[in-house]
């Protein structure tokens, strides 16, 4: 793997840069400054850093209070706890009250590998999606993470971000592109079928596209970095122009990207669809790559599914 920089480090570095100019930016941690890679921010701006201890309900409530007073809090806490332990605070104190809190779930998906279901976070998108007014973003790689972090500082409103723990292979060649919250990125144009991926599975979708190209199939790849608000236009367009959709995500097949896309497809332009993710079971323990392989979240399986859908 070429890239050695995890996305959490990119968020920290970007916030360190932006906080020089913007004294309202604050970072909060729940004994997670190490795991969130936020120690450099804490050291650089101790006055803009708040340690809350192991208390995920409290970190969200305090952030809402800070945001209410004009601060721009970034909560950095393991995705598994941040998304579920404090979901009522997210619903009431952030979304319902309309406070400008950025919730950054770190080590999401199965990136805590062998620690088991308690530490896997593969229900977070489903839970967050059901809350009105809460945006949900999963950046694909370090470049997108940087552009996303810049956008989050400018964006007013509650956002749930989910990133993984480990470095991911780049999906973009550079950060020189336009990142717009709520607007999917067409990574590859294609006409036969569309692969829609989010977060760190975008790289897998791109690899699948290359393998399909070798097999003579033109696959479109959409990076759905924002799951809410969802880019319905890009989905309907893909359904109309390519006639079939495969979704890929590091999340339960219930309530995540696939479900969100299916809701649009079935109501606006029904076409064959396959949803690839973690089945309805406690995810098997192991390294992310091993877990992905186990569940067929791989370029070769996406290729096989696509060929099957196309009758090839």
């Amino acid at each position: 793997m070429a890239n050695k920089i995890p996305n959490r480090q990119v968020i920290c570095e970007t916030l360190v840069t932006l906080a020089q100019e913007d004294k309202d930016i604050m970072v909060l941690a729940s004994d997670s400054r190490g795991s969130a890679a936020m120690a450099p921010f804490a050291n650089a701006y101790p006055e803009q850093f708040v340690e809350v201890g192991i208390a995920e309900q409290n970190i969200v409530g305090i952030s809402a209070g800070l945001a209410h007073s004009g601060k721009k809090p970034f909560v950095t806490s393991p995705a598994c706890f941040l998304s579920m332990r404090s979901i009522e605070q997210i619903k009431v104190d952030v979304a319902y009250s309309g406070t400008n809190v950025k919730l950054v779930g770190i080590s999401g998906g199965v990136s805590y590998g062998a620690l088991g279901m308690s530490h896997h976070s593969v229900q977070d998108i489903a839970v967050a999606r059901a809350i009105p007014g809460l945006a949900i973003i999963l950046p694909a790689d370090r470049h997108e993470t940087k552009r996303m972090t810049e956008a989050l500082v400018q964006h007013e409103g509650g956002v749930y971000v989910r990133i993984g723990r480990n470095p991911v292979e780049d999906s973009y060649e550079s950060d020189d592109y336009e990142f717009v919250i709520g607007k999917a990125v067409t990574m590859r144009e294609g006409t036969d079928i569309t692969i829609i991926a989010t977060g760190e599975t975008v790289r897998i979708a791109l690899d699948a596209q290359a393998e399909l190209a070798e097999a003579g199939v033109s696959a479109r790849v959409l990076n759905m970095h924002t799951i809410k608000p969802l880019d319905e236009e890009a989905i309907v367009c893909a359904a109309q122009e390519t006639g079939g959709i495969i979704t890929v995500e590091e999340h339960s097949i219930h309530g995540g990207l696939g479900a969100a896309v299916a809701e649009v497809v079935v109501q606006q332009h029904p076409v064959p669809m396959r949803i690839l993710g973690i089945p309805d079971e406690p995810a098997i323990a192991g390294k992310t790559s091993e877990v992905f392989e186990h569940y067929g979240i791989s370029s070769s399986n996406i290729k096989a599914i696509a060929l099957g859908m196309l009758g090839k």
Binding site: I62, A64, G65, G70, K71
Partner: protein, 281 residues
């Protein structure tokens, strides 16, 4: 406002909220009656607020963590001019802003509350922001005693002391009743004052239906620099209406026509006693 004017105002607010609940045929009557004196002291004597500028940054903040007894707060905000008093007639009606819990679409309400155990953490964040910005704003957070069973209260209590938030005042409406009965039967809280003190708060215990005691306690905060203050306001649920006092089912009992008339007469007598004494013009 003088002490007698405040007492008279509290009686008027009780009359307003009883009429409002009676009209709407719904409401948390008991808890609103018990906290009326606390809110009256805060909104007519203690807090720095400007109804014409509800978002004024230098204002003091009030968070109703026990959001279900919002009725007294609606009546007070209307009386202080945050919104027209006629709107009280829409309380709990279809599409209203004046729902059964604090709603920040209404001027004067800072945050939406209603789920218990949230308010103190929010208040900690607000007090922390005021410290960081060197503003004189104080934050008052009213909690229920039944609410003390929520673990998140204690997470926030820890943080308030850790960050030495002496601009933060927690208030417990200690009326000793929750929906299923006595707090000590449902989930024992005592020794509650010792618990707060052990969490690093300066604790003041008073008669929470005594306006003078409330004013004195709030004016004194922070009594100790670097410590948040917890005012244990020992109140009577249903206070001010003789036949509702300490009766659990008045938690959300709606007064009948007869009960309303009797309650209003009692409160009217309180107000006129102050007037007859010549203390209120």
């Amino acid at each position: 406002m003088s002490s007698t004017e405040l007492r008279s105002k509290a009686a008027q607010i009780r009359m307003d909220l009883l009429r409002m609940i009676h009209g709407a045929k719904t409401g948390h009557t008991g808890g609103s009656l018990s906290n009326t004196d606390i809110l009256t002291a805060l909104y007519y004597k203690i807090m720095t607020i400007d109804p014409a500028r509800p978002k004024w940054q230098e204002r003091d903040r009030f968070i109703a963590s026990k959001g279900h007894s919002v009725e007294s707060l609606w009546c007070i905000l209307a009386d202080r001019g945050f919104f027209p008093k006629e709107e009280l007639a829409t309380f709990s009606q279809f599409g209203t802003r004046l729902i059964g819990h604090p709603n920040n679409k209404v001027p004067g309400i800072e945050m939406n509350t209603g789920a218990l155990g949230h308010g103190l953490a929010i208040s900690v964040g607000m007090a922390l922001a005021a410290k960081k910005d060197a503003r004189a704003s104080r934050v008052f957070c009213l909690m229920g005693d039944g609410e003390q069973a929520e673990g998140s209260v204690w997470e926030a209590a820890m943080a308030g002391a850790h960050y030495k938030l002496d601009n933060l005042v927690g208030i417990i409406d200690r009326n000793r009743l929750q929906i299923s009965g006595s707090t000590e039967e449902v989930m024992g809280l005592e020794p509650l004052e010792e618990k707060w003190a052990a969490f690093g708060w300066h604790v003041v215990s008073i008669d929470g239906n005594d306006i003078d005691a409330l004013v004195e306690a709030f004016e004194a905060a922070p009594a100790i620099a670097g410590k948040p203050t917890l005012v244990m306001a020992n109140t009577v649920k249903g206070k001010g209406v003789s036949f509702a006092e300490n009766v659990p089912h008045w938690h959300h009992h709606v007064p009948s026509d007869e009960e309303l008339a009797k309650a209003l007469a009692e409160l009217e007598a309180v107000i006129s006693s102050y007037t007859q004494e010549g203390q209120v013009q």
